[in-house]
Symmetry: C2
Subunit: 275 residues, 2 copies
């Protein structure tokens, strides 16, 4: 039985701590172009990656509740940190399917590696949670997994410092220091901000290492879940794009265009009921 | 008439978005060693510097209300961004004196400059507010004021990347690009995180530029205000140090020791009533 109001023409809800999740929204819009979307960026509380699991879970539930008011049929947690720490709480609380970015990303990495040696980079919160290690080893217990927190990548991407000497030096510091020793052939970009830094990361790690970002794999997983639950929109209709933010929209619109790869028409500021 | 509960032996309340304000608390503890203090770091919502004035004001009021429960006799806003945007709202709302860091910092800079050419660096929120320009020109309308937002300095200081090639390159990028042209002789560190980067900033700008940080000037201003309002603690007694945080305390205790210059005994996690 499907909850009232969550039908095939309902929108997909997506939330992130800020603009980073727009890289996931972009993949979703490309994979499922008939589906309407409501995106919520919690810009009043960004970033999540340096905060505790307890606080990130509280914020994630508030985000989900705000999106439920739009009668969404599925929720995409487009933030690695929230996916790493809040997915069980969200699944327990919501009457709709919830898709995080970590399991799809881990599966994509497990499929990509040839020698079974995978490295994962992410925020301190994501790495400390151990969620990628668990997801990778659940997919294939033989995988050798290395991880590293790269906290400065988020502010670099947010500020648009994505090429030149500073991000290169930061990437060398994080990635050059033994992380890839022993022949890692696959590197998971375990934060939705990192795809913006992919060119410089690729340059630092070399072309023999395959970069995996979870955006496309997550969009594919959403398509599967909608199909299985008979929630896929079948007929062409008006596609709605809503953008919600918790701080004033200016900075979100400006920085967000860089992440979405196209201008954002507008965003509505809302209040969340968070302690 | 003094509000009930706010007497000479009451504590001084201090808040900041996180750990940065501990540099101000440190100056306060040195200048007023007899006074008890209650410090609140809003670590669940840090940073403030990239958020809007509206949101920072809302958070500042919630911080002040939490500190008022400790019957504080004065409030120190140990965050430049909050001082820049929320001081009028706090002064209107609170029954006790409120001291921000910007006016003391501006007065110290006006006193330090010999040629009247002053530069100010700070968060995007502080610089966009124009608060330093106003405060400097209120002190001396002849001053020539240059400003620059340096958003990456906060994450660098938080991560402890305060020397070596990365902070040096970032400092060169922010400070080398015309900010000091025309003979600026005084540079205001307009963010409580920046004193940690002072050695590298001094190296980049050269020894002919005087760095001004508002911590000492703010502590001096607090001493004056307490004296004027007859709120100074006169007799030696038990000095209490309370630390409150809105996220789990671990990271605050770890990073905070770097800012306070000594280990922190412990911190209590509290919930704020913020929308």
């Amino acid at each position: 039985m499907r909850p009232v109001g969550h039908g095939r023409t309902s929108a997909i809800g997506v939330f992130d701590s800020g603009v980073g999740g727009l890289t996931v929204l972009k993949a979703l819009m490309e994979r499922l172009p008939l589906e309407s979307t409501v995106y919520l960026g919690d810009t009043a509380r960004v970033p999540y990656g340096t905060k505790s699991g307890e606080v990130v879970t509280r914020y994630s539930i508030a985000n989900a509740e705000a999106l439920l008011e739009y009668e969404i049929k599925a929720l995409v947690v487009a933030c690695n940190t929230a996916s790493a720490v809040a997915l069980p709480a969200l699944e327990a609380k919501l009457p709709i399917p919830v898709v995080g970015v970590i399991i799809p990303g881990a599966q994509a990495a497990a499929a990509a590696t040839k020698n079974g040696k995978v490295a994962v980079i992410g925020t301190p919160g994501t790495i400390a949670s151990g969620a990628y290690q668990s997801a990778l080893q659940a997919t294939n217990p033989q995988l050798e997994v290395h991880t590293r927190a790269c906290p400065l990548f988020v502010p670099l991407a947010e500020e648009g410092w994505i090429d030149g000497a500073v991000p290169q030096l930061v990437a060398e510091k994080y990635l050059g220091d033994g992380l890839l020793d022993g022949g890692v052939d696959t590197l998971v970009l375990g934060c939705t901000h990192y795809p913006l830094l992919a060119p410089i990361i690729q340059k630092v790690v070399g072309n023999s290492v395959t970069l995996v970002d979870s955006a496309k794999a997550t969009a594919e997983r959403v398509a599967t879940v909608l199909r299985e639950r008979e929630l896929t929109r079948l007929e062409r209709g008006t596609v709605e794009r809503h953008y919600l933010v918790t701080d004033t929209p200016n900075r979100f619109l400006e920085v967000g265009a860089r992440f979405l790869g196209r201008p954002l028409s507008g965003a509505r500021q809302i209040d969340l009921h968070v302690r």
